[in-house]
């Protein structure tokens, strides 16, 4: 129908902690050709309720439909798109870099600049752990590319609304 710009969206989905709920949500995205970029499932304050944070790339009109279809699922309590809202969005990354003694100082300098830390070190390698906005992690990765990045693992984004209101 409408053509609108493809954009990245961050959704939070609060669900009753019942078997199959993740599969049902995944079906809704897959059916409409949306790729899920990242997905974090975690428990919430209440034991029987889980929280999912999903980032997906797609056009907003289609996404609105997906949100409605997800909300319709019996075990979904609510689903909100936080794109453009005042929210805290963070993720964590572990980066394994091929870095011997000679490179160590520079890698540590880079890590330090991004308030990341080294969590493992051998003769030939280091693991850097960074926490923060995706942009910050991207920027750090760009610098680390100079060394050989052996492995990268990112948690996916988690989101929380600012202020006293719950997300």
């Amino acid at each position: 129908m409408q053509t609108s710009a493809i954009a990245s969206h961050t959704l939070s989905v609060v669900v009753a902690n019942k078997p199959g709920v993740l599969a049902r949500i995944a079906h809704v995205f897959a059916r409409r050709g949306f790729n899920i970029d990242s997905l974090v499932v975690s428990s919430s304050m209440e034991g029987n309720v889980s929280r999912m944070t999903i980032t997906a790339l797609g056009d907003p009109a289609n996404l609105q439909q997906i949100i409605e279809q997800v909300k319709k699922l019996v075990d979904v309590i609510h689903c909100t798109d936080h794109t453009g809202e005042d929210v805290v969005v963070k993720e964590m990354a572990l980066v394994k870099v091929h870095a011997g003694v000679a490179a160590r100082t520079e890698v540590l300098q880079i890590a330090d600049h991004f308030k990341a830390e080294s969590v493992d070190m051998t003769e030939t390698s280091m693991i850097i752990m960074a926490v923060g906005d995706s942009e910050k992690i991207e920027a750090m990765l760009k610098l680390l590319k100079k060394f050989k990045v052996v492995e990268l693992c990112r948690t996916g984004k988690v989101v929380m609304a600012r202020g006293e209101e719950p997300t």
Partner: protein, 576 residues
């Protein structure tokens, strides 16, 4: 060992819980994984009536027909593996058309799941995208809660099918839980909010301004029991009304304000009205692609108002100018109070001129026409019957010629378009409404998909009238091939059809045959008089009739073809 209510097992608890919800009728076929449940039907002395069918798909359509005709859900009880997978088509059919249904499937024992156990099929996973909700029971003690939830989910909000998959160990284990356990559905609140008065004012204002308003009624209007309120509203506004295929019965089609069905094979005047209307007020239709033509050109100049219980329907196909999420009946009743009399004299004059100029018509000469048979039966019964259809040309002609005046008297697979639906749906409806006349119209193709269940109708002496409109073709597909593929017939010739009358007799049903237009009334009268069991009428109709009007796929409503083009240079008729 005799079991009493104090030491029931899972299977018995399952049956008693269903009974407690008010389930009266169950259709299905047993198997290894469900023997305990079938045993519980005996040992609990339940009041639920169990109907053994010949195929699980037919069982689902029976439950579907029962629900459409009564408004109450029925249960389908099948075994694991192939028994369960045979219900998939029926689940889709019910889901697409918002029909409540509970499917109970047996399952291999829980400790065997994922190990390719005998007759293990992940029916829970398989049906996920085509079902309202589903359960795989892990604990016998959860049974009462799950049954309560399943019934509640199936029947409330926008209704739909719910599956409960029951591993064998769960049904044989002793029950030690709370039979009164409460539902636990934090994510499900189907209670419609009272309509927002400002929204009602906005809709009423738009209605009052409109000079060419048109009401569009879908299945939702029937499900919400909004028919009386909508009728009063239409009459107060003097607004014409059109309905979708599943909306048949939401507004009397014999009413002067009715335009009948719109869409791909709708009446010319309904489609013309839709094109010209300056306001479209939609109650409970999901703007299906079969009524839109080209979505971007649908109701371009009209104020579009969409009333639907399901928020996900708003803007899915058509972006409305006013969206109203809510119960159709509550909204119609509120609107009725908020509007004054409408001034639509010019509009109605125009529409009535269309009705005169482009009526539904066919010629009774030149071979026996399906329309003739449908119209004749309508006349003979005064339209007082529950009508089930199959899918194809006969379905569209029945929709055109059989005017439905009452809700729950029209059973047709709309969203899924499931061939094989008609006969079992009629059987299910007759179980639900034993005193009413039930007629099914099927094509020769679709009838053969589920006709084995004539046995079920015979066993229960159901006096259904199964009309087979036999054109020896998969007619609807042949029509498309003729019109859009230069008449290249491919895979549509039903060579090898049986003699349906003899087939009926072999089951002990009455088998009748019509070959000439002159015999239609006589034979149909005989069919109507017969009350000892089912009657099948094999009607040999003209083979190559096409359904018109027609909005070709991918064309806008205004591009509807009202009359067939004269045929030129057609190849010689095929030899049989």
């Amino acid at each position: 060992m005799t079991k009493t209510s104090s030491n029931w097992d899972g299977a018995q608890m399952l049956v008693k819980s269903l009974e407690k919800e008010g389930v009266e009728c169950m259709f299905g076929i047993p198997g290894g994984a469900t023997i305990p449940i079938f045993d519980a039907l005996v040992t609990t002395g339940t009041k639920i009536k169990f109907v053994l069918t010949r195929h699980e798909q037919a069982a689902t359509h029976m439950a579907d027909g029962y629900a459409r005709a009564t408004g109450k859900p029925a249960v389908v009880l099948v075994t694991s593996g192939p028994g369960a997978t045979n219900t998939v088509t029926g689940i889709l059919t019910a889901h697409m058309d918002s029909v409540p249904m509970i499917v109970l499937s047996g399952q291999a024992a829980a400790h065997m799941l994922g190990k390719d156990a005998f007759q293990e099929a992940d029916i829970y996973g398989m049906t996920m995208p085509i079902i309202k909700h589903s359960y795989l029971i892990h604990d016998t003690n959860h049974i009462p809660r799950i049954v309560r939830e399943a019934y509640h989910i199936a029947t409330t909000g926008r209704p739909g099918p719910v599956l409960i998959d029951v591993p064998k160990n769960v049904s044989v284990a002793p029950f030690a839980g709370d039979p009164e356990a409460a539902m636990d559905l934090p994510g499900y609140d189907p209670t419609p909010a009272a309509p927002d008065p400002r929204l009602i004012q906005a809709i009423a204002g738009a209605l009052q301004k409109a000079r060419k308003p048109l009401l569009l009624l879908g299945h939702g209007a029937i499900i919400a029991d909004a028919c009386a309120a909508i009728r009063a509203l239409a009459e107060k506004l003097h607004a014409p009304v059109t309905n979708t295929l599943l909306g048949k019965g939401s507004f009397p089609e014999t009413h002067p304000l009715s335009l009948g069905m719109l869409g791909m094979h709708g009446t010319a005047y309904a489609n013309k009205a839709m094109v010209e209307a300056d306001l479209i007020l939609n109650f409970g239709s999901r703007f299906d692609d079969r009524i839109l033509g080209i979505p971007a050109r649908f109701g371009r100049d009209a104020v579009k108002i969409h009333v639907d219980i399901d928020p996900a329907e708003i803007g899915k196909m058509i972006q409305p100018d006013i969206a109203c999420v809510g119960d159709a009946r509550m909204v119609a009743e509120a609107l009725l109070k908020a509007v004054g009399k409408g001034d639509t004299a010019d509009w109605l004059k125009r529409i009535n001129a269309y009705k005169k100029e482009f009526p539904l018509h066919y010629r009774r000469t030149g071979g026996l026409k399906m329309q003739h048979v449908i119209e004749e039966l309508f006349t003979l019964t005064g339209g007082k019957a529950i009508v089930a259809t199959d899918v194809g040309q006969h379905q569209m002609w029945t929709a055109q010629y059989w005017k439905v005046d009452q809700r729950n008297n029209w059973l047709s697979s709309g969203g899924a378009g499931t061939m094989g639906f008609g006969l079992p749906a009629a059987i299910g409806a007759q179980f639900g409404r034993p005193k009413d006349l039930v007629i099914s119209f099927s094509g020769d193709g679709g009838f053969q998909m589920t006709m084995a269940d004539l046995a079920t109708a015979c066993n229960h002496k159901l006096p259904i009238k199964a009309i087979v409109l036999n054109n020896s073709y998969l007619g609807m597909v042949r029509q498309w091939q003729e019109l859009f593929y230069d008449d290249r017939k491919s895979g549509v010739d039903l060579l090898g059809n049986p003699d349906f009358a003899k087939f009926a007799e072999s089951y002990g049903a009455l088998g009748l045959r019509i070959k000439r237009a002159a015999d239609v009334r006589k034979v149909l009268t005989r069919a109507l008089e017969y009350d000892k069991g089912p009657c099948v009428v094999d009607v040999h109709v003209h083979k190559e009739q096409n359904v018109f009007p027609m909005v070709p796929a991918g064309k806008a409503l205004e591009d509807m073809i009202i009359e067939p083009r004269p045929r030129r240079g057609r190849p010689p008729a095929r030899k049989k």
